[in-house]
Structures are given as structure tokens and as C-alpha cells.
Symmetry: D2
């Protein structure tokens, strides 16, 4: 961390500041210029609040050299984290998984049909929304508890672990049979929810917010990890841009960039990112080529009749084709 | 609402669709072209889920002519909503208020000093954070319950109603003495929180999210109002843009635009929007000139030592100057 | 400027780099840490290409402390620049001007009528487009040379100096009678055009690009000033955001921020920023309250029939009301 | 195209408007509601200026159903355009090409070395900047005419056609030996330049602007094609987002989306998009997986000493590895 002090800062002020840094266990290097004094701070600066520092009268600006996240930082944990969902189902560190299922659980028949189909094609995890975040209070909000029960039934029938979104920490007890808890894009900075999920003993699938940076995503992962839960799977699902042909803009450079910054697995959601079923296949292939650790894809047995996001859902047949195409890419990449 | 049907849609399909619309109480106008059939839907389309509609095979595109929000819509409620915080303190419909106080409550001495100072300058409501949303889990998170108690004490001493942020609906019982409950930018689409606040009998101050549109802000207000709580105060607090000299970009055209779209009062937060104390005065004056119904401004008795956001806090003296300048603008506007 | 060198940089490499900095006339302060060496560079670093520096093997990162623009920088030129268009018409340093006229010059009758009307209301400069940048090659592109001739005639009749946009440096000889040459948002980084305008002896009105930062705007001003033309008027005209109710988002905090960074005058275009005539008045008033040095406003004698941007044009009567309202704000501000 | 007319529009007004549409060769379908009248316009609406239409008093809103571009539109030209640079070097319609070379031409030795190396690895076209758009007037602006001469020499030695950027139409005569003329991101809406390039008999490589939509990119292609030059190659090179770890955000969904919208070839520039050499390989592979028709990649014989954008340049060895990896993806895709 570098702190630039204003001209006119007295020696006494500098001594008081450097004394405080030393108490925080930091090593300090001072460079005095005519117009500025520059302090180089070496050590663990993760817990220094840069806003507090910048608020001091004598400080002109502060710049981090190292990152503000620690548990998620690859520098301190060079090995890939491998998240184990079941002994035979892992994500990260070379383990690639397909997670598939409908946007919303709608009926017993629907979820069972879709689960069997995607399992046959090679998906190892079943996704399905029971609690749905919707912009309008008048839109379909999910089957809630009933949806979770249907997911459990599909899990029993197919043996697939289930992934579903939590929107309210008070619902946690309903999630006992859920294998991976998803935090949606709109809750990426719901810090109270993240903090509680840090105490849960289940993997968390954390989606990037619509206009959030990778640093903010990693700080949100850090909230969960700071509570003791290290099984965080990051998910790139498109960011808001000015483009209107696609719903969002899938940021695939986030995949190799995150792999550099963190040891956590990174998966990609091409369905929500594009909002268009025709673009799911090329984007799924591109994500695999970019080094993603998995894909989460919407599949519906009857997309035109889906109660939510039908426009981006694949049929089971289309999903089967995507799996085959992605597998060819994975072989080419290895 | 206009729905464009694809070429090749059969008469039977059209009949089935129009039948459904009629059941929803809508009047339908059909225009048949060689390539498309256009349905014009007249009536209350608020509760039509456009995504469901667009997911139908036969539908090419759907366009709303009227807005998807209803309770918040000025068309159905032409008079300005006036939010009454106390008999003598109202916001909206020509009632302009200054809300002032520190970013965070830090100590008894701090909050009492600031409260007395801003009250003397003309602020009628006291703000202060007890629960603070911070990007990093290692940054100062507020005094929490203790902060709320200190706010109550300041309220007792000065008679000022208090405004403070809620981050978790489970904290609600701690907010009994709070007069206006704030929803922060990061929780603008925390739909579970919004829904619960719809059942509360207190005014809600709803801040616009960092990358959210005015329509999304109004849909979030609609979540609260759909629960029966109509006392929603909207707050423009800057949106994320590519500009880096200022923390965010204050969107002042949101003020007259929202006044057109909704009857709810609209206030402006120039402190968070710019992040720079020197810009608070010109932006506060501009907000008043643009027709805002109030201002929420950070004031700290010792900004350089503030535990949070000191860079954007005014001293009590600076705040006094802002109030005087804004009052001159308000007179010129009347 | 601060350069952070990587661990493992040899003394010989450091000597070679510091030697080069000394040749550029910079003073160097070295701070050696275990993991990094930090170089503090003091002096005129404007002409140091930071990309070249960052490309060096030994350099980890480079941070500017001072700004990369020099001629436009208030630090080196603390007094406001006052641009003199005619002895009695100045902009900047306390001189506020209204610039008004139609988006496009359409006919002799139109431009003369509008010119007389806006002059009577208090506008001192006439604007009108002869060359129009349009997204589609099939849209109306302006009357070109004929439009310039009509502007000249209006200037002769009313005595108002004229402001119009240049899109191609090869048209320069047609601009002989033009008093202020405008560079549009889409050409803000047409560096070849800017460079040529640096050799012209007329004031340049430089509009901010749709997604450009203030630093980029100032660097573009620097291109003009580097050629010897210091009469640059900056214009905030809205930036692209995710908001769709307004065409762009007017960034009024740009006004006080630019006043801090530069000595050049700053005007505001509320017509293009919002795209909605009803928002022009509140935004014009807000711009004046924020400290703008002038306003450029679209006025048309028959807005619904305007060949371009009619939706944002005021009638002469509406413009008269805006001038009166803005003048009240200007009095309140003084 | 759909036009919604306001309540209260008279029959005479409607007749006059529909009469005008009929003159433009459009078929009209009228749907009358109590609150609105909806006109459905069928036929070639490309040349209808929607802004003019929206400016009419009686019109509430206008919505295009079909796209505003015509020459570039796949609907009217279903076959892929194949751009022939030389009999044996084609782009589009299944022909994939690597374009490689340094950001800037710096010296005879540099350009010859790089050209030979990339040619040996499989690049068929040589890129190199002679005129460089730089944000600061004080940064290196390219070798200009001398740079073009060095490119010609490299072409003679290696037989590789050359691709280089034009910034000023007055330089056109210097481009006689250039095979593909590039329009840079900052000039994507320099309509005067585009119009002139419509008269040139050489392929144009058109880069997407930093904050431009795909529709705007296609409208800019339309400017060139409207002049008679149909050999336009589109290039996705990253858009501006809030992410700061990467320079821009590569929008790979643009590739399949553009393939749907237009018959023109689409290539990808992973070097400028990410600004980081380590990300070029995964993004190049992802672009190939997404269906790109080619890649334009920066290669420098000595990246740390590059006069421009060294941080994103590959060494010839790294480029060789990228070509091999991309070729494996291309095989997997076929």
C-alpha cells in the first residue's frame, strides 16, 4: 500500500501515522520529496480501511499494491480450491461440471422430466428456482416451499444433487436437502445474507452482480469465507452494458482473470448472460475454451410455455447437443 | 401494450390468445398484415408478465405503452404524495426538507454535537448509520444496536425524527424508535426486504441502486406499496458511470423525470453521489433548482476523523452555508 | 508520478531507469522495500508516456499523482480563461451566455425567425447545424454549405455571432464567417480534427463524448491547445448510462469538477442531454445553480415539424421562460 | 414499424399521415383503441427517420420491428459475404484468418522480424500501425508515412498483405499499397471518413467503438456500403464497462449475434480488448469457439520495449502457441 502525504505535513504528524502503521504490524518505507512524502507500507494491509486513511487531513491519496481480499486470494493459497459436492462430483482444479435445469420449478412432471433428460445427457447437478427474484411484484415469484419439495423428489429419483437460490436467510431451514445454495446477482452485495452463509456447511454458488466488478465479487466471496465457509463457487453471468440485442454482456475474460486472482472455481451461465437460447451453445463452447470450471444452463421440457425466461431455455435435445459440443472443446483444450 | 405475432400464426392460436387477454379484462384491437399481426391491448396491463408473453411461440415481440408500475404511477394518482413524518414535518407536494447527520454514528458526543448543529442550521431530520453496508468484511460495519440507541438519545435531546438504514428484516424490532427507515442502494432489489417493509407503518426512504434505471426504482417502490405502505420517499444518489473524478454520477434529470412518472416525493443525496465534500454545495443547489423535495447530506463534527466517508462530509459550518445557499435557490424557484 | 518496481530488479536496472528520468528533468526519490522498490518522480511528468513505462519488464505499476494535461490545467494557470467572441460577448470568468437556435438550419425563414426570437429573449449567440452527424446514412444530413450561408444571413440581420459544428477539416474554408466552431460528441476523439483546429484562430466549442471521462475531455482540449489555440469552451452534454427514460444522463457534477481541474469555461447542453423538451427548463436552472458559464439550447419555431431532434426543441416562448428562470437562479447564486 | 398515435388525433391528421406513408411505398394497418390508435407499417422502412416521426405532435411513440440497416442485413442477403483480400486469402463464409503484427511500426528491423515470425506461424495478413490515435497529444503518434513505407517493404519481403489504420481521409493516397484499411474504435462514428471509404475499392476493417452498440456498428458499416463498398469486415475489440482488471470487456456474444444480423465477416481483437498479454490466448480460443472468422493479434519481437501497448503484445513464440491452440479449437468446432 502506498500513501501519499500532502506538502506541509509536519514531522510530528508523520511520526504519529507511522507509529500507528507499526502497531498494525506493517513495515514502513518513507520517501520525502519537495511536494509530497510517500509512505510505502509492506505487510498484510487487507484490514486497513483505505477510506479512513484517505479521510485524514495529511493524506493526499492511497493506493493498494496488493488486493483487499485475503482468503480468496491466490497469492496466499496458490492451489486451486476443489469444491466437493459429493465424493464423485467435484468442481474446480480440473473438474468440469454441467449444472442444468429449468429457470423455475413449475410442476412435478416438469422437474422430473427435465432432471431425467439432463442427467442422461451428462449433467451432474440439477438447478431449479423455487424462490425467484422478479423486478415486478406482480410477476410469478416461484413455488417457494413447494418448489423445494419437488426438487427434493427429483433428487431422490435421479440421484442428482440440487442447486437453488436463497433470497432470505430466514428460509434457510427449508434448504436442508439443498446441496449448493445459490446467491443471485441482485443479492451479491446483500452483506447480511453473505455473512450468514459463511456459517453454513454447504457450497455457495455466488453470482456476479449486474454492474459489479471482479474485485467486488471477490470481496463478497470474502464475506462468506471470513465466516469460515471456504466452498465458494464464483459464477460469471453477464454484466449490464449499452448493448440491447443481448440481455447482458457475458464477460468471458473474467474467467482467466479470476483464475489468476483467486483459487476458487469459476463457472459460467450463458443462459442468463445472453437471454437468447440460440446464443447458449456458442457461448457455452467459448466459456469452455476460456477455461471455465463448469456451466449452468437453463433447460425446459417446453420452453415456449416456461413460466419464466422461456426465451433463453434450451430443450433437452438442444442441451444434449451443447454437452457434446462443449466436450469436444474440453478435449481440444486439454 | 402491443404484441406482435409472428407470420404463420393460425386463427385458432390468435383466438386462444385473445380469449386469455379478455379474461384478464383487456380490450383487444387486431391489425393483420402480410408479415405480422399486431395486437393492441387496452386496459390495466400492469399484471401481465411480458416475459411469459414473449416466451410464447407465436409472439415476436411485446412492447408496453403504459408503465408496469401502478400504485406509484402518477397517471392513476395525479396529486403529489405528501409524506408526513410528524405533523410539522412533511416531504413532498411543496414541502422541502433537509436531512443531515453523520455517515455513521460513532459516539454519544459525536451524534449529539452534530444533531444540535444541523438542527440549528435548519435540518428537520437527523440521519446516521448504525448498520453500514461495506464492500469489505474487514471494514467498520457500524455500532449496530448501540448506534440506534445513540440516535434515540439524540432524538430525545433535539426533538429531531431520525432516519437510518436497515439491512436485515430481522433487525426490525430494533427500529421501533426510528421515524424513517432507509433502504440503501445495494438493497434496492432485495425484494424480500422490500416486501416486508410494505407491512411496516413508517415512511421508507428508498435509494436508487448504483446501476439501476428509474423504472427499476419505481418497481421496487411498487413492491413496498403493493404491501400497503404508500409512504415511500425516493432518493437519487448517483449512478455508476465511467467517470472516475467523482465517485458516482449524480443524475439530476431523474428529479423532474420522476416527478412526471410518479406522485412520490424525490430527494437527492449529493454527498454519496459525488464522494467529495467540495462538490456538495453546488450539487445541493442544483438539486433544489431541478425541483427536488429535499436533500440528505452528510455532516460530521470532525470530517477528517470520520470512521466512514469522511472525504464527503461537511463540517457543521459548511452545512450551514449550504442551507443558506439552497434556500436562496428555493426562493428563486418559487 | 510513482513507479513501483518489481522484486528482483537489479541495482544496474534501477540506475539505468533513474538516469533516464534525470535526463527528462525529473527529480527522483527512491524507497526500497523487501518486496518492492518505489520511485517517486517529481517535476513535469506530462510528457512521460505511462504505457511505455508500464511495458518495462522491471515495472510493476505506475501511478500519476499530477494530471497528464498541462495547458488546460488550472494548477499552471489559476485564473479563469475568458473567451472573447466579440468585445461585448465573453464566456467564462463570471460571464454567462445563452447560445440558442435550431438543431438544424432548415430554411431561410426558419433560421431568421428563430434568430430574432432568441435574440429578443437574451441569447447572444446563434447556434444551428449545417453539417449533421447522423447514425444512419439515410437520415437527413443537413443543408451543408447552403446552411452555412443561411446562418451568415441570420448573423448579418441580427448581429449575433454564430456557432456551428464541423465534421471534416476539409470544410474549414466554408467556416470563415463562423464565430465559434463546434466539435461534436462523436468527434471528441477525432484527434486529426482536433490537431487541425489547434491552428485555427477561432474559439472551439468542444463537446464531451458519450462515454468519455472528464480526463479524456481535457486531453482532447489539450490537443487543440497544444497547437496554439487556447480559446476552448468545454461543453457537458450528457453521458450514456443505462437509463432509458432520458436520452442521456446529464452529468452536472462535471461543472464544478471541471472548474477545479481547468481554467477553461464550461457550458451545458440540456437539450441533447435529456432529449425531452419538458426537462430543458429544470436542467437549465440546475446547470446555472451548479456554476455553468453558459447554456446551449435548441429552439425551433415549429418543434413538431423540426427535421431533426424536434422532441427536444423549445418554442421561442418556452425559451423566453427558460431565460427568465435561469436569470433568477444566476441572481440567487451571485 | 409501429407508430402509436395520441388520443385525440383527428381523422384528417391520420389520413394525412397515412397518405405520406403510402407515398413512401408502405402498406398501413390501422388499429383504433379508445386511448390510442396504432399504425402498423409494412414494407421497406429503412429510410424512415424515426426521430422525425416521433417529433410529430400526434405521434406518441414509434417502434421499429425490422432493422434500420439494409445493405448489411442478413435478411436481404442470406449468404455469408466472403471478403477476398487476395485470391488465396479470404475472410468469412468458413475462411478463418490470423492477422498479426506490432501495435506500431517502429523500425525496419522490427517490422521485418515480426512479419517473418508471424508468417511462419500461420498468419496470412500483417498488421502494424503507422498513424496511431493516442489520448494524449504528447504520446507517440506513429511513424506515419515512413511507417507505411516500412510496411510495404515487409509486404514485398514476405508476400503478406497489410492491414493498417487510417485516421484522416486526406492521407488516402499514402494507402495505395495497403490491402485492408482499418477504421479504429474512436473513428467508428466519424461519418465523413466512413462515407469516403465507401468510394474506395479496398476491404475495410471496421472496429466497434468503445461504448457503441451492435446496431450502431452495423449502421456505420451501412455508411460504407451505401457508397458502394461492400467489403466490410467487422471487428469486436471490447467495450467499456466498470471492470478495471481488464482494459475493456470483450463481448464475445457479439460474434454469434452479428452472424445472425448480418452477412459480413466478424473478427475479434483479444489484444486490445483485454490489454493483458496473458489473457490473449484464452480469449483467442474462446473467440474461435464462438464462431469468429478471424483474429487480429498484437505481436512484437520485444514486447517490454514496444513503443505502444507492450503490455498486451505477445512474443513470436507465444503467438505460435496461440495459433496452434486456436487451430485445435477450430478443428473441434468443425
Amino acid at each position: 500500500m502506498i500513501a501519499v502525504l500532502k506538502a506541509g505535513t509536519t514531522q510530528q504528524q508523520i511520526d504519529s501515522l507511522t507509529g500507528w502503521f507499526e502497531q498494525q504490524g506493517l513495515e514502513i518505507h518513507i520517501s520525502r520529496g519537495k511536494y509530497q512524502t510517500i509512505l510505502g507500507l509492506v505487510g498484510d494491509t487487507t484490514k486497513i480501511d483505505t477510506e479512513l486513511l484517505e479521510a485524514l487531513d495529511m493524506v493526499e491519496s492511497v493506493k493498494r499494491i496488493s488486493e483487499p481480499f485475503k482468503s480468496a486470494n491466490r497469492k496466499f493459497h496458490p492451489e486451486d480450491t476443489v469444491v466437493t459436492i459429493r465424493e464423485d462430483i467435484r468442481i474446480g482444479g480440473g473438474n468440469f461440471q454441467f449444472i442444468a435445469g429449468p429457470c423455475s420449478v413449475e410442476s412435478r412432471e416438469q422437474i422430473l422430466q427435465v432432471a431425467q433428460a439432463v442427467s442422461a445427457s451428462g449433467a451432474k447437478l440439477l438447478r431449479g428456482g423455487a424462490f425467484k427474484p422478479r423486478t415486478s411484484p406482480y410477476d410469478f415469484q416461484g413455488l417457494k416451499g413447494e418448489g423445494l419439495a419437488l426438487l427434493s423428489e427429483a433428487k431422490k429419483q435421479t440421484g442428482m444433487p440440487i442447486v437453488t437460490e436463497i433470497m432470505n436467510i430466514n428460509h434457510l431451514e427449508l434448504f436442508e436437502d439443498v446441496d449448493v445454495i445459490q446467491v443471485g446477482a441482485r443479492n451479491m452485495q446483500n452483506f447480511e445474507l453473505l455473512r450468514e452463509l459463511g456459517r453454513v456447511h454447504k457450497p455457495i454458488l455466488l453470482k456476479r452482480g449486474l454492474a459489479n466488478t471482479l474485485k467486488e465479487l471477490l470481496m463478497s466471496a470474502e464475506y462468506i469465507m471470513a465466516g469460515g465457509n471456504n466452498d465458494v463457487i464464483l459464477c460469471e453471468r453477464g454484466v449490464r452494458t449499452f448493448e440491447t440485442y443481448t440481455r447482458n454482456t457475458l464477460d468471458l475474460s473474467a474467467v482467466p482473470m479470476l483464475h489468476e486472482l483467486t483459487h476458487l472455481p469459476v463457472i459460467v451461465d450463458p443462459s442468463h448472460a445472453t437471454g437468447i437460447s440460440r446464443l447458449v451453445k456458442p457461448m457455452a463452447m467459448a466459456a469452455a475454451a476460456a477455461g471455465a470450471d463448469g456451466l449452468i444452463i437453463e433447460v425446459h421440457n417446453d420452453p415456449p410455455r416456461a413460466l419464466c425466461d422461456g426465451a433463453q431455455s434450451l430443450t433437452p435435445e438442444q442441451f444434449d447437443d451443447v454437452v457434446k459440443s462443449v466436450n469436444r472443446i474440453l478435449e481440444a483444450v486439454r
